[in-house]
């Protein structure tokens, strides 16, 4: 009976592990299991801190929200961290908010080991989140096409317009 029960269902840990975590795997897992902080993804770039606060405070008192920013432009780039005062409230958010809508988008929540300075910035080459570099769909609320595809489109249209003008 002494063996610790791992959380099941909606509040269990996902497969994702932050590669930049300082510490080994088991330390990381321990942090995640005790954490009161959630990573929130698939936000619109236009969703404000207030909107996030409104939804997440329905699960319990929110301590702070750290908006994810584009490293270069310092503008919201579609993710954030939500920290609660209590673990139980963070669990409620995992149970009842993950997979529901905010600002007409289905958002995703996951456990986070706790906010550290620097983590508010996107880790993609161009400053935003990595997923927004490779996306091939058009997502108006996240800056249109993925960055690589957008560059390609821009280059080819530059080319065609320069051809047309010459």
């Amino acid at each position: 009976m002494s063996k610790r029960k791992l959380p099941k269902g909606s509040i269990s840990l996902s497969q994702y592990r932050d590669q930049h975590f300082r510490g080994n795997r088991s330390e990381q897992e321990k942090c995640l299991l005790e954490s009161t902080t959630l990573y929130v993804g698939n936000l619109s770039f236009y969703t404000s801190e207030g909107q996030i606060h409104e939804l997440f405070s329905r699960a319990g008192d929110v301590k702070r929200i750290i908006m994810g920013l584009d490293k270069v432009q310092k503008t919201p780039c579609g993710f954030c961290f939500v920290e609660y005062y209590l673990r139980a409230d963070a669990e409620s958010a995992m149970r009842y908010i993950n997979g529901t809508r905010l600002d007409d988008r289905i958002i995703r929540t996951d456990w986070d080991a706790g906010f550290k300075e620097g983590r508010q910035y996107g880790r993609g080459k161009t400053g935003g989140q990595v997923r927004d570099e490779y996306r091939t769909d058009f997502d108006d609320a996240r800056g249109g096409y993925g960055k690589m595809l957008a560059n390609k489109i821009r280059r080819s249209s530059d080319l065609s317009s320069s051809l047309a003008s010459s």
Binding site: G9, S10, S48, E49, G50, Q51, H53, E54, L55, R58, A59, D61, R64, I65, I66, M67, S92, R95, Y96, I97, T100, R101, L102, D103, D104
Partner: protein, 794 residues
């Protein structure tokens, strides 16, 4: 058996995978026979490719061979199933019946163990578990495990509780409920075998129920009127349903009874007699369940043709509702499983299941004093239900919303508030699409009229979830008068005409100092010369605070941080010492809160969030928040929902603080005692771990002052309530007009809400409240609220 079962998993695909893998491992390793037994027993009765009867038969044979070695474990697992899986009650009574037929001793030992558990549950005040055990025992009569007479004896001893002197009614109520809620299962058998004894018992119950006091009823009703549906107390309703069942010769159509198929096997079995059980006597520490009022939204005319909604006094209504309640209870931590399980309710072809689910879910969401689970659970589960049944569920939910809106005039304010919260949340998940035109009537209504208030507050909530433009675009143009103002900070020192204000120069100077990163000390020095006047120039004779200083400093700070919540928090954190000293005393704290209102009155979320921050950083305290909310300046917003959101979150924070200190004191005592025991046993004690007497004393002092602050907070709130309500009643009387205005309804029900939402706490101070505030010279309308509340536990 194991292999077959593996295919019967119902739920979502990914979960299916997970469970399958886990069980395969257990089966192959064969490490833990107990786990295997548990999984076998707990899974019987789930959806399966073979019939329930053959599964039961198979399981009974497996267990029969395991009994010699694992008897105790098997009994324990079965006893857990009684309380944990009551939705499969008859499956397990049948199983016990089959085991008893094979092995008489084994049946006897099970009954003994269950009786022991029942006694413990009653003693510990776990009445819901006790109720499931009593019902199980009752059904064992049907399975020829128990003698009918001995069950009746147990029932009689429960009914006798009603004859005890000096006990609260909630005690006798719960014992009657234990009996009544078992009767649908065993009524027929008792009627056939012991009709006279059964009838005598029912007469006693009838006598008891006709004499009960129901002062508490108004406090628990979702609707103040009885139209279109009667608002019944739970025991009265169940009694009416049981009387109907009796007139139908105790035949019902809802309970699945697998034991009927085994009648030939079971009827040969030997039966046991129950050992005598005496209800543990009453003592003050036992908390009995509070009474309830049965929630009714639909009747058969609301439901499309093809299925029939059982009438409100049909026993089937009770049985289905209870099962749905149980499904929610079992699955409330996984909203997707919950939605799936509700829609998978076995009797779905005969009944309008969607309607019953919606009614039960709203019944829980609106239940008073509090909903059993987080409001958000109901909202997110409704969304799942809509996803699973996209063609039917949204329609039923829309119909329900229409009906709730239609009946909103008589709906309790607490429930209106929950309705607003849910409705806005639901809209935010469905692109804010709603047939608003149907509700156009409320555009021209009094702002305090419930329908108009509802729409206004919903739009305010939508504003918090989205943004102003979005809300404007979601409603018809004619709704313009109901729309919230665009939220923005109002900073008087940069508005037109600011030049003539006394504080403008200082405010502008402060802006540039803060922008050039001045220290808190430097900021304080720059405020020094401001005279002790109000921003309008009027002199302030109270030397304990300087309203102009507070206004200039705090409004400038809020203005500079107005970009977002985080910016505001950062500003508050940096200049925390300044705020502390500006609002050192009570009047200063209230003044500071008034400035907050002046700046952020069009952004309610900001007010809620910032008051929370000011409380947590101890710039203001709980009673100053209460005094502010009741102040003249806030009268205009007094019936606005955000005011009460702030009030209740303030009370909650106070009580969390007290609980925390209490826990610290308890822990310290425990540690000290443990150390003393160790010392007595001659063991070494590490000094640094053990709190000293002085340390404990300090903790106790802190706890004491927090408790008295809490008591004081309630006194402030209730006293202010009495004042505003008494003024209103007197004003109406002298003017000769009806006191019962929309404003009055909102306010008196907000008073009720403070009692109900924090009922455990308020009960602690009930004597003080009675002696100091709710005395006989208080107007009866106000006093009634207090009396209804007291009656909840009497």
């Amino acid at each position: 058996m194991d292999r077959r079962r593996r295919h019967t998993d119902s739920f979502s695909e990914d979960e299916d995978d997970d469970r399958g893998r886990k069980r395969r491992r257990i089966a192959t390793d064969d490490v833990d026979i107990e786990d295997r037994l548990e999984s076998l027993i707990t899974r019987v009765g789930e959806k399966s490719t073979s019939s329930l009867e053959s599964n039961l038969e198979g399981l009974a044979s497996v267990l029969e061979t395991d009994i010699p070695n694992y008897k105790h474990q098997i009994m324990k697992i079965l006893c857990q199933c009684v309380v944990k899986l009551p939705e499969k009650l008859t499956v397990y009574t049948t199983l016990v019946g089959l085991l008893n037929a094979k092995n008489y001793n084994c049946g006897g030992e099970f009954v003994e163990m269950l009786m022991r558990n029942l006694k413990e549950a009653l003693k510990a005040g776990e009445f819901e578990n006790a109720r499931m055990m009593v019902r199980f025992l009752a059904d064992l009569v049907n399975c020829h495990v128990l003698v009918a007479t001995s069950l009746l004896q147990m029932f009689d001893s429960f009914v006798e509780v009603t004859l005890e002197d000096n006990i609260p009614q909630v005690r006798s109520d719960i014992y009657i409920y234990l009996v009544l809620s078992a009767l649908p299962w065993v009524g027929r058998e008792l009627f056939e075998k012991k009709e006279m004894e059964l009838n005598n018992m029912l007469i006693t119950i009838d006598n008891y129920l006709s004499k009960r006091q129901k002062i508490h009823l108004p406090a628990l009703r979702v609707w103040t009127t009885d139209g279109p549906h009667l608002q019944e107390e739970y025991l009265d309703c169940l009694w009416a349903q049981i009387k109907n069942l009796r007139s139908n010769k105790w035949m019902e159509k809802q309970i699945v009874r697998p034991y009927l198929a085994f009648d030939s096997v079971l009827c040969d079995a030997l039966q046991h007699t129950l050992p005598q059980i005496i209800p543990p006597s009453h003592n003050k520490s036992v908390l009995y369940p509070l009474p309830r009022v049965v929630f009714r939204l639909f009747d058969y005319t609301d439901v499309p043709q093809g299925s029939v909604l059982p009438g409100s006094h049909a026993i089937e209504r009770y049985l289905i509702e209870e099962q749905l309640d149980r499904i929610i209870h079992t699955n409330h931590v996984e909203r997707k499983d919950c939605a799936m399980a509700l829609l998978g309710y076995p009797a779905k072809n005969k009944i309008p299941l969607n309607y019953m689910i919606v009614e039960v879910m709203f019944g829980q969401l609106f239940s008073l004093p509090r909903a059993p689970y987080l409001d958000l659970f109901y909202g997110s589960t409704f969304i799942e239900l809509c996803k699973l049944q996209p063609t039917t569920m949204p329609e039923v939910l829309a119909q329900a919303s229409e009906m709730l809106f239609d009946r909103i005039d008589s709906m309790h304010s607490i429930c209106v508030e929950r309705f607003v919260q849910w409705f806005a949340y639901h809209l935010s998940n469905f692109q804010y699409k709603w047939s608003w035109d149907d509700w156009e009537e409320c555009v021209n209504m009094d702002a305090n009229a419930p329908k108009s208030k509802f729409v206004r507050e919903v739009l305010l909530q939508c504003l918090r979830f989205s943004y102003h433009q979005r809300v404007v675009e979601s409603v018809p143009e004619s709704f313009a008068p109901l729309l919230p103002a665009e939220p923005k900070a109002h900073y008087r020192y940069e508005q037109e005409g600011a030049g003539s204000l006394t504080g403008t120069m200082h405010a502008h100077k402060l802006i540039s100092s803060i922008r050039s990163k001045c220290t808190p000390e430097e900021a304080a020095i720059s405020m020094k010369e401001l005279p002790n006047v109000y921003p309008n120039g009027q002199e302030n004779e109270n030397p304990s605070f300087n309203p102009l200083k507070i206004d200039v400093f705090f409004s400038t700070l809020l203005h500079l941080g107005s970009k977002s919540i985080s910016h505001s928090f950062a500003a508050l954190a940096k200049f925390h010492p300044n705020l502390k000293s500006l609002a050192e005393f009570d009047d200063g704290k209230v003044c500071l809160l008034k400035v907050l209102y002046e700046v952020w009155k069009t952004n309610q979320q900001m007010m809620v969030v910032l008051v929370d921050k000011l409380l947590r950083t101890e710039v203001v305290d709980c009673s100053s928040v209460a005094n502010w909310l009741f102040s003249f300046e806030m009268q205009h917003d007094f019936t606005s929902f955000y005011v009460w959101e702030i009030m209740h979150s303030t009370i909650k924070k106070m009580s969390r603080h007290v609980d925390q200190l209490q826990q610290e004191v308890d822990n310290a005592h425990d540690k000290q005692e443990a150390a003393k025991r160790k010392e007595q046993d001659g063991l070494d004690v590490l000094d640094d771990d053990v709190p000293t007497d002085e340390a404990i004393e300090r903790m106790e002092e802190r706890l004491e002052s927090a408790t008295s602050a809490q008591k004081n907070l309630f006194l402030v709130i209730f006293q202010r309530f009495i004042i505003v309500l008494t003024e209103h009643l007197a004003r109406c009387e002298s003017a000769g007009v009806d006191y019962n205005t929309p404003w009055y309804k909102w306010v008196i029900e907000r008073l009720q809400q403070v009692f109900l939402m924090h009922h455990e706490l308020v009960f602690r101070y009930i004597n003080t409240l009675e002696q100091l505030l709710f005395t006989s010279d208080v107007d009866i309308h106000i006093l009634e609220v207090f009396q209804q509340f007291c009656a909840l536990r009497s």
